[in-house]
Every structure is written in C-alpha cells, then in structure tokens.
Symmetry: C2
Subunit: 231 residues, 2 copies
Amino acid sequence: MVSRGQSFPPFAVTVDLVVLTIREGALRALLVRRGEEPFEKRWSLPGGFVAPSEDLPAAAQRVLQAKTALDLQTVHLEQIATYGAPKRDPRMRTVSVAYLAFLHDLDDPSPGPRELDAAWVPIGAAERRRLAFDHRAILRDGLTRARAKIEYTTLATRFCPPAFTLRQLRAVYEAVWDRELDAGNFARKVLAIPGFVEETGESVASPRGRPAKTYHAGDAWHVHPPLRAVA
Amino acid sequence: MVSRGQSFPPFAVTVDLVVLTIREGALRALLVRRGEEPFEKRWSLPGGFVAPSEDLPAAAQRVLQAKTALDLQTVHLEQIATYGAPKRDPRMRTVSVAYLAFLHDLDDPSPGPRELDAAWVPIGAAERRRLAFDHRAILRDGLTRARAKIEYTTLATRFCPPAFTLRQLRAVYEAVWDRELDAGNFARKVLAIPGFVEETGESVASPRGRPAKTYHAGDAWHVHPPLRAVA
DNA sequence: TCAATAGTGTCTGTAAGACAGTATTGT
DNA sequence: ACAATACTGTCTTACAGACACTATTGA
C-alpha cells in the first residue's frame, strides 16, 4: 500500500447506469451492445470512464444524456453501490460506481459511437441475458433498490409523464412489483398522502368508460405509511 | 475521456469506515487522529488506500483489524456509498468507498503507525467535530443507514456480546435511535420474531430485581413487521 | 416488606386488504 | 340499456403503543 507523495496504486473509475422506464406496460432497462473489446458484441449497462476533474454524478448525467434525448436536470439519479472486484475488468484495475435512474417513456435510445445498438429491454429478459462485466449483479441490485424505494418515496411519479392518471401511476407499481394492486385502495391511499399527486383539473377519456382525472407529481418525497410490495 | 488501451485517467481509491459500537450506554464511532498531511492532527474516520489486487471489502476488513483487536470474520461490514468529489483530497483525484461496521464493546482502539490517537467518540460529539476530508458527510450517511437498518434487520444484535439480555438489546435501539422504548412491548415483539434471539437457558442477576434471561443472536435476518424508529 | 427490574395481558386507535357499491362515460 | 372504467364505503383483521398487571429477585 502506498500512502505518501505522488505514488499510489492507480485505478480506472467508471460509472455504470441502471436506467429504468415503463414502456408498453412493462418495466424495461436501457442496455447497449458493446462495439469493442472487452466483451465486444455483448450487451451491457450504459457507462463510461469518469473524467479527471468530473464529479461522479456529473459523469452519470453525461452518460445518460448521450443515450437519451433528455432535456432536463430533473431526472432522479441515485448511487446504487460501487463494484471493484480485482478482475472485474480484464484490461486494468477498475472500480465502477453504479447509478440508478428513473425515466418516463421516451424515444428509442441512440447507441454511442463505439456501440452497436441500444434498446429498452423488458426486465425479465434483461436479467436473464449474459451481460458484460459484472453488470448482471449491478442490474439486480438496481432493481432491488427501485422496488424498495417506490414503497416509501414518491419516486414512482418519475416513471410517469408530466401529467398522468392514477391508472398510469398504479401501472408503474404493478410493473415494478410484478403484482396487481386493488384500484380502489390504491386511489384512496395515494390521494390521502399530502403532496404525492396534485390534480391538474383536466381529465382524459379512457378507451371506454368514465374519464380519469390527471395529476402532476406533488412536492412530497416520503410516502408514509408506505405502500407495500407484498400483500 | 480516455477509453482505449493502457491510458485512462488514474484515480486513487481508498476505503473509509464508519465503525459503530455501544459503550457506556452511548452510541460511539471510531475516530483516529491523523499524524500526517493533509489534515494533520485532524480527527478522521479510519481508512486507507486499496491495494492493487485487493478486493474492496477485504481492504475495509484490513483497516478494521488494524485498529481493533478483532478476532473474527463474523463482523458485519456493508458498503455505504462512494464519495468522489474532484477536490475531496487536495493531493490527488481520489474516490473513497465508505463502509459501515457494527461492533460490540471492545477494548480501546490502537492508533496506527501514522496516527496520533484513536478513540470511541460519542456520536453527538463526533458529528459536531470538524473531521478531515468529507468525513463528516460520510459519518452522517453511515448513521442514517444504521438507524434505518436496525428497523428491519436483526443487526442490532451485532452491537451485543455473544450472550445478552433483552435489556441490553433494547439499550442498543435506544442508543441508536436516541429514544426510549417500552420495555414490555419490546420484549413481546422481539420474542415473537422467530430466529431473532434464542434463549441460552441462563440468567444473569440484575443490580436489583428479577434476573434476566440471556439470549444468543438467532439466524433470522429480516425483522417483519419492523421495529420503528419513530413513535 | 419494599424497591427494583423482567416480562405478560389487555385495550384502543390506525391502517391495510377484500370487496361491494356508486359515478360517469362511449356505444 | 349496457359495458367498461373510475372511484368510494364498509367490514374485518392485524398490529403498534399505552399502560396496568404479575413475577422474581436483593436488601
């Protein structure tokens, strides 16, 4: 171990992102197909090296904006954990700081210059796929975090467009937890939490049936008492 | 950003530890006084550089064993988060992976060769102290994690010696949450969770009053329904 | 017997889930 | 009218917290 002067064991530091969205009623993760070694042609989480004077969240934002046509700073990005097994990257000693992002449905993602493809992959397929590096473990940890976090925070609204119905919000929970919720109980509970959602005053016609009111995300962060992932 | 060949932005990677214990009825953190620049003479969390072929949890264990006369692998170590602001270390670009450890009461800690002192500092004083680097934020995050984690896991038993009374276990929760719990409700709840604690069959005399049974930690991990930090 | 601590019983309020019932629309 | 969807009322059960009560010891 070196601890003095300019000499220290040099590490490469990367960020890798678990980017989740709801599309066609299914929870999906953003995956990219690698165009270079190592793991060429293998699917992986989007990621990249951290620049010498770049903060870690800034690196995560940069990677995210390169793949998606994101307008805003309002996207929620949180750190999952850091992965640094000595042989996780065959090229060099690397630690990867993993981030989790929640996005509402967007256009198709665009692959970067060194990538063959980019896609929103349904979560079951993504988890089963052989991913590059230790990305399968990172994806698993990110999903676990997401499933836990929407229980006691209002983050589920981040999966929704700016205006949404309670049906859409409930669909988020149902997709993330892979479990059906009682529509009535859900509406009562969400509306009882101050600042979870706020009426827009508008309604949208359902395919058939009574039109649903639309809501904006409110400014509350904590949901107490929490919604529950298991019955 | 460099992403090909041997050339990449070099980072130093360290581990820093939030090591907590209960001593004299108070929650305390292990702090060390730095004997070299930067932040010479300032108190800090124990930490150190990660060696070139060392896994991150192994580095954390090594740092922990250097300070405390720990016998075992059974200590619980979990990652808190990673801190990598560009100027967090004035010497070089450094990212620090922070770990959280729960220990039962041990001997006084021993300072390392480049440290002036080491001590179990009561948590209130530790939080108020001006610590080196961004260690105050790391300590805060570690405490938040600890307070949340003992709600829904059996980790509080890690603060207890191998055999303990319910009074001792309750004292752990009271110290960590800084809140008194109803003794009766606590006993009923803990005993109702299968595998939380197991009777040793022995008792210990109280200073005055009925002797308390002693227990070992059981093999359960989750506490459901959770104990609650707030009333 | 008294004081102190350990542990149990019982009541009450809150909240979750099941599910029936009402409201509002398009066809 | 009917079907479909949105939402509300009501009942049951579970559990947390308050607190009174019993149990067991040393002095």
